[in-house]
Symmetry: C2
Subunit: 320 residues, 2 copies
Amino acid sequence: MTVSRVVNNYPGVNNNIRNKVKAAITELGYIPNRSASVLASSKSKLIGVLIPSLSNVVFNDVLRGIYDIANPADYQVLLFNTHYSPIEEERAIRTILGQSPEGLIITGGEQTAIARTMIKASGVPVVQIMDKIENPIDSNIGFSHFDAGAAVAQLLLDKSYGKIGFIGARMDARTCRRLAGFKSVLSAANCLDVKRVVTTPQPSSVTMGASLFRDLMAITEGDCDAVFCCNDDLALGVLHECKKMHLNVPQQFGICGFNDIEMAAYTEPALSTVSVNRYHMGSTAMTILFEKINCEGDQDSASEVYIDTGFELMTRQSTR
Amino acid sequence: MTVSRVVNNYPGVNNNIRNKVKAAITELGYIPNRSASVLASSKSKLIGVLIPSLSNVVFNDVLRGIYDIANPADYQVLLFNTHYSPIEEERAIRTILGQSPEGLIITGGEQTAIARTMIKASGVPVVQIMDKIENPIDSNIGFSHFDAGAAVAQLLLDKSYGKIGFIGARMDARTCRRLAGFKSVLSAANCLDVKRVVTTPQPSSVTMGASLFRDLMAITEGDCDAVFCCNDDLALGVLHECKKMHLNVPQQFGICGFNDIEMAAYTEPALSTVSVNRYHMGSTAMTILFEKINCEGDQDSASEVYIDTGFELMTRQSTR
DNA sequence: TTGTATGCGTTATCAC
DNA sequence: GTGATAACGCATACAA
């Protein structure tokens, strides 16, 4: 018991004894058994994090935000890759819940009904990130992908492009919502042509962007003067392909990407895109969780938090 | 006990009872407590992973490789970011060891003496990745950064560049070893000038590459005709800066990067760089661990594995 | 300030 | 094929 008190830095231990214990600990190389500790105290210092992809750079920044807050507070992160699959997500949630996590960070709002039920039943605080959820389980931090897609469409219209296409890969829920917002604006402006929407369920990449662009040009027989790419990787591929085709960007052809990766500012012409504060989403999600965890005394109801992180149009040279 | 047998899919349970138990489990939303299981069985299905950075794209691919093998086998990953600090790494190792992990994957060979002792004392199998270690704790998969740096220097010499510089950021152990290999070749060829070695301890980025390049040109007063960048991000920045300065790449100035990120093939001119199989390092490390874990019966000594994954020079248009 | 009894939810072992 | 019992290593509550 005295050892336990020393290990956990409890007050009320004689300093001589404390030092003796510490000496013994280092001498023996004693490492406390976390499982036993969790079992006895049901405090795990564990945060479960679910993201849909490890290859997408976007989640790097989010993860950094999460880790930068969690680790200094001595919390550990159990990270799962759901591969954009609600089924895998449900499985991961079940696994994590078995470890008595103190908080959960999950991406988006496409959980299965069972997953939602499990989470609610567990009483573990959750933050849904990366998207503005209509019906959040608990707290939510993100932005409206619909609005972002709409804003890009409006931007391209404002720059007097008229035959605007869309190139998308993976086509997960958030990408689809960007497309929906995009379509709604074009439709209202009476210049939506679905032939100009070219997508693939495959993962996105620069190469894929180039390939989809060729498809777009083939399908529309070149009758297209701008494109919104669902992310910057694709846009980079499109830009590369335009150069090969000797299509002048932005005069003959406008390009807008999404995410504002660092490289976007360094292409020639520099890429117009949409900036979203990924790191901030991760770090804030973690901060929200900590508030909940520390407020469990107050009727266990530190109120839910809903944050719209918005987005910013980065108008560079790839649009007129 | 019967429930435990059902949960763990043990044979020798009456099917009627098994089904009843399963029904009860779903009805109650019962989730087994992993801490208790680990405590009782000392089998955690946990793999500790230590990487030095989450922002470096390089580790994305490694992590994907690890997760792609670990998760389907029902193993979980406890991921720690050591921020290139052996002290943080030691702390993380201590924390992980407290969870009774079944395996460890750690980056490089710069562990503290205490960390090495703890790991060995724990008897947990370890794989050190990303580098060819002289004195590995256990198994090792990676490549020689010294050789890679040397190969780049030789390449640039072969392309008849003579005033070759080096641009490096972060300057972690592996980067330093690349620089050492690079220097050794230039030195042997009698054309090493340390004025042309420009580095910073700060993290690397495209912007940083551009900035270091300006420094290089200022320090050498333009007396430099090629540069090896310790990673592709920096190289991208250098390339961008060359264009601004109207320096013809590769005729007037040669550039070679490192890592072969996808974008390297899409710049203009396309970037010469060094390709290393990151995903493979991650997945193989995990596979090695599994072999050890499953072979614990055989005198607990599934022999150590040492794999040199090598590297490949990608000679593109940014070098003559 | 220190120590003792008890229980956390599983699994290993051995009876039945 | 099923169940009783005793750990696993720690923390809570309380006694000394």
